[in-house]
């Protein structure tokens, strides 16, 4: 079945572009980058259809073993790829959405520097992401995990001339390290406990275990895995990196930080479902963290003024939803949004990107407005995304959210109510952003300018130099992916993931009808309020902001979480390293040791130089004397 071809193709693209890209023309780079992803997408289709993934087949895990990677004692970790239905979902999402975003990016990045670099990184990300989902054991999963982390770091810091971009990259990387630390510990525990890291075998063993005896282990492993998941999937307390990650180019935000990478945590937890099923506590924690994240992120999203930030927080909150789904034991319901969310969130970001593109790099909502005439396609597609995410039936968001909320209600009603409220908020801020962007009259200053926008601090001011004067619709290569995604996010909900995953996670349980009505109602209410605030009487929000000054300030500043982290974690560490590690450890000890070694070596050298008489026979004499000594010594010691 040649599963290895799937990741290898993007890797080939990465190597080609990365090595020769500097000399290649943009057309060639596009062909390589998009072509590799396209090929891998087609190969995924072929493989999955051959495995019968689309025709109700693939009940069992299909596994391919390539070679044994680490072999020590009983532990034998092979480089194996495996496909089951869960993986199939991710494969489709990653390659499909990835392909669309690649195509989009060729248009979006057309005027950027480091063109080949961008696509090389993007391909590399595809490679690692596919390894992540294809890997048949925790170690390979971890390889992909770290790889995508690396790529996200590289791509967030893509505009490495901008201080804040590199800072954001570092932030993402470091915060993820914390999560990965937990993940690594979890892997160690698993390896130590099960003597293997292979998913299937581990899960088999877990299934047979009696819950009472194994709960301790399972809880430990589950919690550590959860730490990793919170890092990668931006959950409380490690979500802070994701909003900043928007410093990267918009396609990156769409692909990595909305559609694929951030769902890796979901994937990992769904993979280890058995472990969580053996530890109700860990499972509850997943749910609680999820709901909390969803709520907090939504509240923050309420009053963000940067369009990408809004969508970023909505991503966090949606991921929170998924965690709720997982945490309430309805794993299939938790996985369902992964696909739909990939569709509409990617669409949102790409649309935002198209808006930003149109405005030559403007991201502030306060500088937009009344764009629906100017960029109609973007407007329509974004609207589709909005209704989808708001959970308006019968669009995709409705199905997925409904499934989760049903599960949540069965698990704990309060969770359901919080979820419903959050859904309302989600609908509100998404439509707030859309209304501010497309309705009303234009508040920007772009018409008078000659395409040189004044916002030098902005990541996308690279656009400025390229003579986009005035507001313009994006080229076809950009809006065609938008259209496709729009269709998907409208109709994607009818791909019944829970039923598809039933053989793995059991049949999804139908909630009562009224649950559904309530959630839909809250969504519609959110939309309505948004319309009231920002279409009919724009004075109301200011009044509210003035009225509730303190909460508004807190929300605007994201609950000062970053400042809190800075004061508690970051600054002490920085000071400590300044004072001790640098001044004492580095300068005194390490440098001292190095220089000392150098001096000693030079001194001995200047002594040994005297032996270099240049007369071969002297050297020979030394050799002979030495050998005589050695032989005599060994002879006297009497051992040969």
């Amino acid at each position: 079945m040649q599963l290895w071809l799937i990741p290898i193709l993007p890797l080939a693209g990465f190597i080609l572009n990365g090595v020769f890209g500097r000399k290649l023309s943009k057309a060639v780079i596009n062909t390589i980058a998009v072509g590799s992803v396209l090929l891998s997408f087609l190969w995924v289709l072929k493989t999955l259809s051959a495995l019968g993934a689309f025709s109700g087949g693939l009940e069992q895990t299909y596994k391919e073993q390539y070679f044994s990677w680490i072999q020590s004692g009983a532990l034998n970790i092979g480089v194996d790829f495996a496909v089951d239905r869960l993986t199939a979902v991710w494969l489709m999402v990653v390659t499909g959405v990835g392909l669309l975003i690649h195509i989009y990016a060729t248009g979006y990045m057309a005027h950027e520097g480091g063109y080949y670099r961008f696509f090389a990184y993007l391909n590399l990300f595809m490679f690692f992401m596919l390894v992540l989902v294809l890997g048949a054991n925790f170690l390979l999963l971890f390889v992909g995990w770290e790889g995508v982390g690396l790529c996200s770091y590289l791509l967030i810091g893509f505009y490495f001339l901008e201080k804040f971009a590199t800072d954001a990259g570092n932030k993402a990387f470091i915060v993820n390290r914390i999560g990965d630390f937990g993940f690594v510990l979890a892997i160690f525990l698993i390896g130590n406990h099960f003597k293997t890291l292979d998913f299937t075998t581990v899960m088999e063993q877990v299934k047979t275990m009696p819950i009472e005896s194994s709960i301790g282990w399972m809880t430990a492993i589950g919690l550590l895995l959860l730490v990793g998941a919170t890092g990668k999937s931006a959950q409380i307390p490690l979500y802070v990196w994701l909003p900043d990650a928007m410093a990267g180019p918009t396609p990156v935000s769409a692909l990595i930080h909305a559609a694929t990478m951030v769902t890796a945590g979901i994937y990992m937890i769904a993979r280890s479902a058995q472990i969580y099923l053996h530890s109700s506590m860990a499972l509850d924690l997943v749910a609680i963290i999820g709901i909390a994240t969803a709520f907090v992120a939504a509240t923050i999203g309420l009053c963000q003024t940067d369009i990408k930030k809004v969508f970023a927080y909505s991503t966090v909150s949606q991921l929170g939803y998924m965690f709720v789904g997982l945490g309430t034991g309805a794993f299939s319901a938790g996985v369902f949004p992964v696909m739909t969310h990939a569709f509409f969130k990617a669409l949102l970001f790409l649309g935002a990107g198209s808006v930003i593109h149109a405005l030559s790099g403007e991201q502030e909502l306060s500088k937009m407005g009344g764009l629906r005439k100017k960029i109609p396609i973007t407007f329509i597609t974004l609207m589709c995304a909005g209704v989808a995410i708001a959970g308006v039936p019968p669009f995709s968001g409705f199905h997925s959210k409904d499934a989760i909320l049903a599960a949540a209600y069965e698990h704990a009603p309060w969770m359901y109510w919080v979820g419903v409220f959050t859904a309302g908020m989600t609908a509100f801020y998404v439509f707030r952003a859309l209304f501010l962007c497309f309705f009303g009259e234009y508040r920007g200053d772009l018409d008078t300018s000659h395409g040189h926008d004044a916002h030098g601090h902005d990541a996308h001011d690279a656009h400025g130099g390229h003579g986009h004067s005035g507001i313009h619709e994006s080229p076809a290569v950009m809006w065609i992916p938008l259209a496709i995604l729009a269709l998907l996010s409208l109709g994607g909900g009818y791909i019944d993931i829970p039923k598809y995953l039933a053989p793995m996670f059991g049949d999804p349980h139908e909630g009562e009808a009224w649950l559904m009505y309530v959630s839909v109602a809250s969504g519609l209410a959110g939309i309505g309020i948004a319309a009231w605030f920002y279409l009919l009487s724009p004075a109301v929000p200011e009044a509210l902001a003035r009225g509730f000054a303190t909460p508004y300030r807190w929300l605007l500043n994201k609950y000062f979480v970053d400042e809190f982290y800075d004061s508690t974690v970051v600054n002490p560490m920085i000071d400590g390293s300044r004072v001790f590690l640098w001044k004492v450890a580095d300068v005194r000890i390490i440098d001292g040791a190095v220089n000392g070694a150098g001096t000693v070596a030079r001194a001995t050298g200047s002594l040994l130089r005297l032996a270099q008489s240049g007369y071969i026979r002297n050297y020979a004499a030394w050799v002979v004397g030495g050998s005589i000594l050695v032989i005599a010594y060994m002879g006297l010691r009497g051992s040969f």
């Binding site: 008489s613 071969i616 020979a620």
Partner: protein, 111 residues
């Protein structure tokens, strides 16, 4: 240390004698290397040492009762032939450049 076996002209040759012979030859090779100043002679002393080692190989393969030692000394010979070819070419070049075979005159590597 066991006493030297009695020398009986009619008897068999004590195995150790071969080794001792090769030791002596090797030592003489070393001596030649150390005391002669003519590059070619030095080179020949090296060949002498190689021969001594070959003798050890042959003797031991007799003792072990298998002919791997012969193969080894065969390889030694081949390598020695190659070495001689290259080495003599080098010597020729040295002589062309310095008009001398004194090994001590060729000491531009000192200190």
């Amino acid at each position: 240390m066991p006493p030297m076996p009695q020398l009986s002209l009619s008897g068999v040759v004590p195995f150790n004698w071969y080794l001792i012979l090769s030791v002596i030859l090797f030592a003489l090779g070393v001596a030649g290397f150390l005391f002669r100043r003519n590059i070619i002679t030095v080179f020949m002393s090296i060949e002498l040492m190689l021969n001594a080692v070959n003798l050890t190989f042959i003797a031991f393969s007799y003792k072990m009762g298998q002919n791997d030692g012969h193969i080894f000394s065969f390889f030694v010979m081949v390598v020695a032939a190659a070495e001689a070819a290259v080495g003599l070419a080098i010597i020729l070049t040295v002589f062309k450049n310095r008009q001398t075979l004194e090994i001590d005159e060729v000491s531009s590597l000192n200190n």
